[in-house]
């Protein structure tokens, strides 16, 4: 059953880890989302352009290879610039290199304007629950 919400997903930057991205697409579809998957190796602009054309409600960014922080910098500002005011932004995967205190990492991403950030190994269904809550459909 479609829930009427559109989500753009993809793997940001020069990151080619493709497996998790497919799993996320599948899980979101199972939950009734219209999924627009821009795939791996995606620059910020591609997420934003896709969200504009498809009138998306949220963007889920994946970063697996450890450079998530650099790749995600300025994302929220670009969304604002492009007229996507207030669009829901999540990020997850293996956001940073090595063992770092998650609370600090999370804070850095929230400060960048992401609504939620997820630590490595997070089950995508947890994030789907959050998404439904944030979109007011559950």
């Amino acid at each position: 059953m479609q829930n009427g919400k559109t989500v753009v997903i993809g793997v940001i930057g020069a990151d080619c880890h493709a497996v998790g991205n497919k799993i996320i697409e599948h899980a979101l579809k199972e939950n009734g989302f219209n999924v627009v998957n821009i795939g791996v190796l995606s620059p910020q602009e591609d997420f934003i352009n896709a969200a504009i054309e498809t009138n998306a409600d949220a963007i889920l960014v994946s970063s697996l290879y450890g450079h998530g922080e650099i790749d995600c910098r300025g994302f929220r500002e670009k969304c604002d610039e492009a007229g996507l005011k207030g669009i829901i932004l999540y990020v997850g995967g293996n956001l940073v290199v090595g063992k770092q205190d998650w609370k600090e990492v999370e804070k850095r991403f929230l400060d960048m304007g992401f609504n939620r950030a997820y630590p490595p190994g997070t089950d995508i269904n947890i994030s789907i629950k959050d998404l439904k809550k944030d979109l007011g459909i559950e």
Binding site: A14, I38, G39, L41, I52, E53, T54, N55, A56
Partner: protein, 462 residues
């Protein structure tokens, strides 16, 4: 004998080709100046007299007379979309494939200033897109309203988010705008769907544009002006590559047409990555793709060709030229009717042709970028991979009349100095010696098997 008459009302010349149906041969060709400003039939009749003379003392009965046209400025279009790289680009590609000259591409919500600009450009048709199906509809509706308010006399082709169509219909009906709604040029993100829009553009071209350009009179004598000339070339390219019901095609191909004002490139090829491990990104490419480079031409655009290339790039192909490259390009642009006489002049024109081919191909083909990882290199591709395309064909006056068309066409091939451009590596190099491609596009409308056979016969190794 029974024959078919194929006519190209070109911007400068009206060109006629007579085909002997039984022997599948070119009986004769002839041309004279196009006279669209006075009476299109004056130039046609002059060319026709020459044609009959060239046919000689044979009794010829033309059972079919078909035409294409790029007279009176060709089919001039404006394309409008939402995001520049997505629906605006898809709309542009649809219009180019319909044989249009693109006067401008607009994106996002238009403002009054842009509307005024569009009006001042005097397009024949406006293609209005924006949003995937189910996606954004605010933008296309905003733009439809502005058009309805300010532009009443230009036919509009609507090819955007289907969820906006009912509202757009109402807006245009209330304003009395002539419009046609067709399928979205980008129904899903990065998925392109240009054929329906192309067909609608062509039907409006036949229905309205021919008359608006004062060419209706020609239709008393001929069976119809079926399409813009570039659309006929693309059509010929497609049937030559794919073949017809009975006749096998020659496989994937690229056509290069260098002119005085522009350089056109057509490719008939899927363009999927030819090597494993390559990720394809961005907007899907049309199988039959046409690009037009308005800044690469031998005369009218000689200065912009110089600006796009620079002295060194032209000198790469003419190292010992006695000319100052910039001065010579300026001179050629001011004297557009110059035909080279000396060896040096020939060499210079050839070098310009090579640069035009090289740059036009760089802009047409896809590119590949490498991402380095400790596990080796991974690749991401944007656009069409044409490395394995089997044929490259030269057409148009510059290439057909060149002493050395093969040399010029080779400038469009894969080059180790710029290996990220996915240009053909080892294709057959062919020339449209008799200049028949647009005529064959017309012929293929009704006699596709014959068109393929004739092209295979007359388009030969350079």
């Amino acid at each position: 004998m029974d024959a078919i008459l194929l006519i190209d009302f070109g911007s400068t010349y009206t060109k006629l080709t007579a085909i002997d149906i039984e022997n599948e041969e070119i009986l004769a060709t002839a041309k004279d100046l196009t006279t669209v400003n006075t009476d299109i039939m004056i130039g046609f009749n002059k060319a026709y007299e020459k044609l009959i003379q060239n046919i000689g003392n044979k009794e010829v009965n033309f059972v079919k007379k078909l035409a294409c046209s790029s007279a009176a400025g060709g089919l001039k279009m404006v394309a409008i979309g939402l995001v520049p790289e997505l629906t605006a680009e898809a709309a542009k590609r649809a219009a180019l494939g319909a044989g249009a000259r693109i006067l401008g591409v607009y994106s996002y919500e238009l403002n009054k200033h842009e509307i005024d600009e569009i009006i001042s450009k005097k397009p024949d048709i406006i293609l209005l897109a924006g949003g995937t199906n189910g996606g954004n509809k605010d933008c296309i509706i905003h733009n439809a309203k502005l058009i309805a308010e300010h532009i009443k006399d230009v036919p509009i082709v609507v090819a955007g988010n289907k969820n906006a169509n009912d509202e757009i219909e109402e807006i245009f009906n209330n304003a009395g705008v002539f419009y046609k709604i067709t399928e979205n040029v980008m129904p899903k993100l990065n998925t392109i769907n240009v054929e329906p829009a192309r067909e609608v553009i062509r039907s409006i071209f036949m229905q309205k544009i021919i008359e608006a350009k004062g060419m209706k009179k020609a239709e008393n004598f001929i069976n119809g002006i079926l399409m813009p000339t570039p659309a006929a070339v693309l059509k010929a390219a497609k049937v030559l590559a794919d073949g017809s019901d009975k006749e096998e095609g020659i496989g994937e191909l690229v056509i290069i047409d260098i002119g005085g004002a522009t350089t056109d490139v057509h490719s008939i090829a899927k363009g999927d990555p030819s090597k494993p491990g390559v990720t394809l990104r961005g907007l899907q490419e049309p199988y039959a793709k046409r690009t037009v480079e308005g800044d690469l031409g031998m005369r009218v655009s000689a200065i912009s060709l110089f600006e796009a290339s620079g002295t060194r790039r032209i000198k790469k192909y003419a190292p010992n030229t006695p000319f100052d490259v910039e001065e010579r390009c300026k001179f050629l642009q001011q004297n557009v009717n110059i035909i080279p006489q000396t060896d040096e002049e020939y060499e210079f024109d050839e070098a310009m042709g090579m640069v035009a081919t090289e740059i036009a191909m760089e802009r047409h083909v896809g590119t590949i970028e490498s991402v380095y990882t400790p596990m080796g290199i991974i690749y991401s591709q944007v656009g069409k991979d044409l490395l394995n395309v089997k044929n490259i064909i030269g057409t148009g006056g510059v290439l057909v009349h060149s002493r050395n068309p093969e040399k010029i066409l080779r400038a469009g091939l894969f080059n180790m100095e710029t290996p990220n451009y996915l240009k053909p590596t080892n294709p057959n190099i062919l020339v449209d010696k008799k200049y028949i491609l647009s005529a064959m596009g017309l012929l293929s409308e009704e006699y596709p098997d014959m068109a393929v056979r004739i092209m295979k016969k007359y388009i030969v190794k350079a």
